[in-house]
């Protein structure tokens, strides 16, 4: 696969004695949906945090569009066009839905500290633009009616959607989804899978960490399997489903 959008090469990360991520190399092709599966504590979220810059790797490197971004601070990573959602949704509880999504535009706006203090005309224009864009996205996800509500008042499913909206507001090239289906009911999950596909079709590459097998198998173009911090298998869903190693991990040795 020629020039992957995101690539990790031999990432390492220890926590105390625990080897959370061990020599993991994965590549995410442009415009694809790639899923990373694995049992709890397999190091999936750690891998995400290593990519997003929340924690620094102790070895290996991360490449985005061929350019090394290893151990960049999250805000720089975000500025490159890498958006993420969190396993437990991390909205700004005391901002309205709209404000939350507007926050997503932050990296795409300029006006700084002083300009804000003096409230120069351009800051006004800019914030109007940010807001317009945010509303657009809310409409697109059918959240427009919630715009004015404080995020903390929303039901869980909605919150997740808002987090999506916030991520999309960044107009990212790559979207990192950490267990997007966790805690969603069956209908919400279906809605979600449709949404993810739609996002992909817009040319936004997605990297998903997910437990929900059916979801993964239906939407993803490629799957990588982590176990105890190591990559044990990689390939299209079909082959992964038949991979004895994977089956052993998921169903125990006797099925192998």
């Amino acid at each position: 696969m020629a020039d992957p959008l995101l690539e990790t090469r031999g990432l390492h990360r220890f926590f105390g004695g625990l080897h959370a991520v061990k020599d993991v190399s994965v590549a995410v092709p442009r415009g694809a949906i790639k899923a990373i599966i694995g049992s709890n504590g397999a190091g999936k979220t750690t891998l995400f945090n290593l990519i997003a810059g929340t924690i620094r790797p102790q070895g290996g490197e991360v490449l985005f569009a061929g350019r090394p971004i290893t151990a960049w601070k999250p805000h720089r990573v975000a500025a490159l066009g890498i958006a993420r959602t969190f396993q437990t949704t991390k909205l700004f509880p005391h901002m309205t839905v709209l404000e939350n999504v507007v926050m997503g535009r932050h990296a795409r706006a300029r006006s700084g500290f002083l300009a804000g203090m003096l409230s120069l005309p351009r800051t006004w224009r800019e914030s109007r633009l940010m807001e317009a864009k945010a509303r657009e996205i809310l409409d697109d996800l059918g959240l427009d009616d919630l715009a004015g509500q404080p995020a903390s008042d929303l039901p869980f499913g909605r919150q997740r959607l808002v987090e999506f909206a916030r991520a999309l507001a960044m107009e990212p090239q790559l979207l990192l989804l950490d267990e997007p289906a966790a805690g969603l009911n069956i209908y919400e999950t279906q809605e979600l899978s449709r949404l993810i596909l739609r996002i992909r079709d817009r040319g936004i590459t997605c990297l998903i960490v997910e437990h929900n097998m059916p979801l993964v198998m239906t939407i993803s173009d490629e799957v990588a399997v982590l176990d105890q911090g190591q990559k044990v298998a990689e390939g299209p869903p079909r082959t992964i489903q038949r991979d004895p190693e994977v089956i052993r991990i998921y169903l125990g040795d006797d099925h192998a």
Binding site: A79, F86, F92, M95
Partner: protein
């Protein structure tokens, strides 16, 4: 409408200020303005602190330090006598440029010192610079560790002021000249200038308020609030959290410096008692009583509580009453005495456990 709503506090404040002046003048009780003016300068610190703690969510137990750096810088520059250096070319040069001014003190001694206006600017710049240098390392700390670091900073400033001869040691610096902004308008405690200074002080406060309000409602302000509500998320959205914290820290320090310098010129002196931990604590506490992320509340409380203690209303029970108010508010109405529309903010700050 939005604008009206946004600047309501300032408008109301301005009206109240003028009303008060009229009432007091009519009543022939203009002397109350002395303490109101002083309180106004103190509340400049509180406004800055409110931005730092209420919005950016960073604790500071050292803001008296910045207040003092501002005050002391201005005081030293305007009292340090260069008369001995007369004839030294650069001194005369500065003098001809108007950077230095000659005057006589009450006892007829000739003084040649830096011009107050210049000293004032220097004070603000120096304080901002120091705030930047201090903030650079310590704003990486969180919670109690940040509290300790800022506390430590305050202590260091205190010790330096007490130990250094040029800073007057225990006696501080007196005989600080008035700050003449232009002919006929000067920051001084002299009685004839009372009303004038009342308005100068309030002008400064209102300016600070407007800047603060603008900031809060700007992109930067939103970013600050986001840092405060969920730092990790904010960071992942491209908010350079560290940079924003630092900017706010410097800004609040600058506000403190303005207050310190102006008050020093107004009082004609400054002493180490301005740098005690208790002072820093007072600022922080007033901010909390005002409702943390609530500029209006902070301002009102800043004026009120400082005014009361400057009047010595509670006599020897001053600190006791202060502590009482503090606890009462924290326990009974954590979001401050006056609930402003953004009380959710305040509550979010006061009720969310910052751990984990």
């Amino acid at each position: 409408m939005i604008l009206l709503r946004r600047y309501a506090v300032v408008l109301v404040g301005a009206v109240a200020v003028v009303l008060l002046q009229v009432v007091l003048s009519a009543w022939g009780a203009t002397y109350y303005m002395t303490q109101i003016t002083m309180s106004a300068y103190y509340s400049l610190v509180v406004i800055g602190l409110c931005l730092l703690m209420g919005y950016a969510g960073q604790v500071s137990l050292g803001h008296a330090g910045f207040f003092a750096i501002g005050g002391y810088t201005s005081a030293v520059l305007t009292t340090f006598n260069l008369i001995a250096f007369r004839g030294v070319p650069w001194v005369d040069g500065c003098r001809s440029l108007g950077l230095l001014v000659a005057r006589q003190d009450l006892y007829g001694a000739n003084l040649l010192t830096v011009s107050p206006l210049l000293a004032f600017l220097a004070a603000i710049l120096l304080t901002s610079l120091l705030a930047f240098l201090i903030g650079l390392p310590i704003l990486r700390l969180k919670g109690h560790y940040l509290a300790m670091a800022t506390l430590g900073f305050g202590l260091i400033v205190y010790r330096l002021a007490l130990g250094t001869a040029v800073l007057g040691q225990a006696d501080g610096i007196s005989n600080v000249p008035p700050l003449r902004i232009f002919e006929g308008l000067e920051v001084t405690g002299r009685q004839p200038f009372r009303v004038q200074n009342y308005y100068i002080a309030w002008a400064a406060v209102m300016a600070a308020m407007i800047l603060g309000i603008n900031l809060v409602h700007s992109r930067a302000g939103r970013a600050l609030r986001s840092i405060h509500q969920n730092e990790e998320a904010a960071h992942s959205l491209g908010v350079n959290t560290y940079r924003y914290k630092l900017s706010t820290f410097v800004l609040s320090a600058a506000f403190a410096a303005v207050g310190g310098a102006l008050l020093t010129h107004y009082n004609g002196s400054i002493g180490p008692s301005e740098i005690t931990v208790m002072k820093s604590v007072r600022y922080l506490a007033i901010c909390a009583v005002g409702g943390m992320a609530n500029l209006g509340g902070a301002l009102l409380m800043g004026i009120l509580l400082n005014f009361l203690s400057l009047r010595g209303v509670f006599g020897t029970y001053d600190d006791a009453v202060f502590g009482g108010i503090l606890i009462a508010v924290m326990l009974l109405s954590p979001q401050g005495l006056l609930r402003m529309p953004d009380w959710r903010e305040a509550r979010s700050f006061l009720c969310r456990r910052s751990h984990g």
